[in-house]
């Protein structure tokens, strides 16, 4: 074993054997379960059927797509990679919501804007109430305050009474 070439060959043999064992082990690892597949399929929509999530679609095509997810999972792909794969293959319609980009932003932005306008109208109606309430309070206060005109009349009446006496 003094020959470095022989050493290298032996090392290569053991390395190769180790790699073989490792790959055998990974091949024997259990395939991803139905629940793991469904966890991803749930967020994807069938590219063919209308508005049907992939995890519950009963067609043969969808069963094959679920198997494709299983295969990708077994190859070490993560959830985002698998979803992106489906988007690349079949378009954004396979996602349960439009991606947050470009024109698709409108789907998220328009409802809050319209609801906000509604809230403003509602608040405006409530402000009117406050104005009315303030007005009422002011009226009440005025009613309690002595009226100059009335006190003048009262004074004059008193004066008349005194004069009659």
């Amino acid at each position: 074993m003094k020959n470095p070439l022989i050493k290298l060959a032996v090392l290569a043999f053991f390395f190769g054997a180790a790699m073989g064992i490792t790959s055998t082990v990974s091949a024997q690892e259990p395939m991803p379960s139905d629940n793991e597949v469904n966890a991803i399929a749930r967020d994807l929509f069938c590219p063919v059927c209308e508005n049907t999530p992939l995890d519950v679609c009963a067609t043969q095509a969808c069963a094959q797509w679920r198997e494709l997810i299983r295969l990708k999972l077994s190859e070490g792909w993560n959830e985002d990679q698998i979803k992106q794969y489906f988007v690349d293959q079949y378009g954004a319609r396979v996602l349960s919501e439009p991606p947050k980009q470009g024109l698709f932003w409108l789907v998220y932005v328009i409802p809050p804007i319209l609801i906000f306008i509604g809230v403003i109208i509602f608040i405006k109606a409530l402000r009117n109430i406050r104005a009315i309430e303030k007005e009422e309070m002011a009226l009440e206060q005025t009613a309690n305050e002595p009226d100059e005109y009335m006190s003048k009349i009262e004074e004059e009446l008193k004066g008349l009474k005194n004069a009659n006496r």
Partner: protein, 689 residues
């Protein structure tokens, strides 16, 4: 012969609708009540004619008349009789005829009433009803004729037409295609008629609203006349929606009842605005406010009814381009456009007459809270409308289809629905006109405290840590306690004063104010439904696994064991794969379930029917996903555990009872009855003179 007769009747009905419109308008302007009455009678005559036409079509469906193309499309010889008859609304042409039928029935019913006090409204009520009827009957006459027959042309091809093309000979197919398997469910037999009845009933309040706008009688007369119709419409639509959910739960095999599908949303949208209207109209009656808003709501409801029918019937949902290709899509589009233009123009014209008689005077008054309730309903409508419309806009602008699915709707509408539930609890405590925070707090703090304690108990003892569920249950319990307390308060007060038994007192308070206490029963039903929805949405669990016979899978407290599987053909052209699974709960045997997969040979469509064990506490929902075809030793099952879902279905029964109580006519006091008799005889005397 029968198809020709049926088509003839529809054609005559279309003519009557047109006559009714013209005669009514002329009668109004010429001030000829005879002409208006003639228009009314013409409109009423449409009902028996369309009824006979519908019965004839049912007869053709029941007798396997496969020379009629509609019969061929929706039935087959192997279908049971009840499905053949109800296939009337299983296809496009038949369902449009059914729409027209229910509409003419309601129009006839509403014009049977006494018109002594409302003669000025009658012409325009007739016009609006007849225009709507003319539109739907016109669709049947010109685009979707259910009586069209098969003809074989000289080149051997088979075409569908009403009248014999030159050189063609009649053709009869040996068997039909059969009804879509998904529609062969008891829920689907009742669900479409309920929805249609709900849709059609809203035409009545709309027609009165428009009549009020045209004639300038913008007081609350139109709301009082149509109050019961609005509740009837709301009830039918509610039942239709729940039945649709039940059908989805039983047939679609995904363990849920609501998938935020555009077709579902199309039916939900008029319901949302209709519910807002039911609340808002009370403010007009009590305080003379929101007159313009109520007009907007009822117009919007009608437009959404037509829009919903357009969405489901024009094919626009499958592709925006299908709309232009479909025969009826553009017709619907034009009709909706004209309705909007006319309604909005009238609204602008009468805007100044719709001024409120009083103003909002308190932040926490009942009318303010009802306004907030309306804001929440309309906000949910905005989310739904935009969610349905956006995929069409995306396809039109970018050519790219997108899905707007459950996560979008649930995130956006969840807080809004929670807000509505809270308002449902607090609003009955608030008084008309003026309420202070102090009085509201005083009457609600006990309910708030109890609901907090109960929810804390859920957290501590049931380990319920989901924040959305905590908020949801707190709001639900709070609203339930307040509503129940309202019953208790009224009944105990009456019992004390009248010295009656508490139950007798409770019964009698319903009689005293049916609308209010019917409304409270509806609130309780909504609370029950909310419990079911929270249970399923927040706590549903699922698992899937492939089992060999004798093997088990567990989910929550349940153990499901695969026992057997049989594959066989049935007489009605189905191939069934039926599994037997035994169920144990907490180690105790509780029974067997039979999930199955039906394969329909005619349509080559599979259908997954779950095996379900239902209790008040939860549902165990087992689906047969796959199996080894020859040995049947192994089979794959998908199992859902759906807590509390039955509360949703049971709540519906209470909703029906509550609606019936609310719409039941209040007993007239004898003095009022006498007064009516006198005024009626005076009117008759005057007209005779």
């Amino acid at each position: 012969m029968i198809p020709d007769f049926g088509y003839g009747l529809i054609l005559i009905s279309f003519g009557l609708a047109i006559y009714s419109i013209i005669a009514s308008v002329l009668g109004y302007y010429k001030r000829s009540f005879k002409l208006v009455d003639s228009a009314r009678l013409a409109m009423q005559l449409m009902f028996p004619l369309i009824t006979i036409a519908s019965v004839l079509l049912m007869y053709l469906l029941a007798t396997d008349a496969y020379y009629v193309s509609f019969v061929y499309e929706v039935t087959s010889r192997s279908m049971p009789m009840y499905l053949k008859i109800t296939a009337l609304w299983g296809g496009q042409a038949g369902s449009l005829l059914f729409w027209a039928w229910t509409l003419t029935a309601f129009s006839a019913a509403v014009t049977l009433r006494e018109w002594d006090r409302d003669r000025d409204l009658l012409p325009w009520v007739v016009v609006v009803n007849s225009v709507t009827a003319a539109f739907f009957i016109g669709l049947v006459v010109f685009f979707e004729n259910p009586f069209a027959k098969f003809w074989q042309t000289i080149d051997g091809s088979v075409i569908s037409a009403m009248f014999q093309p030159a050189g063609a000979v009649p053709f009869t197919a040996p068997d039909g295609q059969g009804l879509n398997p998904l529609l062969r469910h008891p829920g689907m037999i009742i669900h479409p008629p309920m929805l249609y009845l709900g849709f059609v009933s809203y035409v009545i309040p709309f027609s009165f609203a428009l009549a009020a706008l045209i004639t300038g009688r913008t007081d609350d007369r139109w709301t009082r006349i149509t109050r019961r119709w609005a509740i009837v419409a709301w009830l039918f639509l509610s039942i239709g929606l729940v039945l649709g959910g039940r059908w989805a739960y039983d047939v679609l095999g995904w363990g849920g009842y609501w998938g935020w599908d555009p077709v579902e949303i199309a039916a939900l949208m008029p319901w949302l605005v209709g519910t807002a209207f039911l609340h808002s109209v009370m403010i007009q009656e009590q305080r003379g406010m929101f007159k313009e808003w109520n007009m907007i709501l009822i117009i919007l409801t009608y437009i959404l009814v037509i829009f919903g029918t357009f969405l489901t019937r024009s094919g626009v949902l499958s592709s925006v381009h299908a709309f232009a290709q479909s025969a009826i899509g553009p017709a619907f589009f034009i009709f909706i456009g004209i309705t909007i233009v006319i309604s909005v123009s009238l609204l602008i014209y009468r805007w100044s007459d719709l001024k409120a008689e009083s103003e909002l005077t308190s932040l926490l008054s009942r009318e303010s809270l009802f306004l907030l309730n309306n804001l929440l309903f309309i906000s949910i409508l905005i989310v739904c409308f935009w969610g349905v419309l956006f995929p069409l806009i995306s396809e039109l602008v970018t050519g790219q289809k997108v899905t707007v699915g459950p996560p979008f709707y649930e995130r956006a509408t969840g807080p809004l629905f929670a807000g509505l539930l809270f308002l449902m609890g607090i609003a009955p405590l608030s008084a008309w006109g003026k309420t202070t925070l102090k009085t509201l707090g005083r009457s609600s703090w006990k309910s708030a405290a109890i609901s907090t304690v109960v929810v804390l108990g859920f957290v501590i003892f049931l380990k319920m840590y989901n924040p959305y569920a905590i908020i949801g249950f707190a709001v639900v319990i709070f609203s339930a306690l307040i509503t129940l307390h309202e019953f208790w308060r009224a009944a105990s007060a009456r019992s004390r004063v009248q010295k009656e038994n508490l139950f007798v007192a409770l019964w009698r308070i319903f009689g005293k104010n049916r609308r209010r206490y019917g409304g409270y029963l509806i609130h309780l039903s909504v609370i029950m439904m909310a419990i079911g929805i929270i249970g399923l949405e927040m706590f549903q669990t699922e698992t899937q696994g492939t089992l060999r016979q004798g093997e088990s899978i567990t989910i929550r407290d349940y153990k499901v064991t695969y026992t057997d599987l049989a594959i066989f053909d049935t007489n009605d052209n189905r191939n069934l794969a039926r599994a037997v699974v035994s169920i144990e709960k907490n180690g105790k045997y509780v029974g067997e379930l039979y999930p199955r997969r039906d394969y329909f040979y005619e349509s080559q469509q599979p259908m997954t029917i779950p095996g379900v064990r239902s209790t008040i506490e939860d549902d165990l929902y087992v689906l047969l996903v796959d199996w080894q075809p020859i040995t049947t030793e192994g089979a794959t099952f998908k199992i859902y555990h759906n807590p509390l879902v039955n509360w949703l279905w049971w709540g519906t029964y209470l909703l029906i009872i509550g609606s019936l109580v609310a719409m039941w006519p209040q007993k007239e006091k004898s003095s009022v009855r006498e007064q009516r008799k006198v005024s009626k005889s005076t009117i008759l005397d005057q007209s005779e003179a």
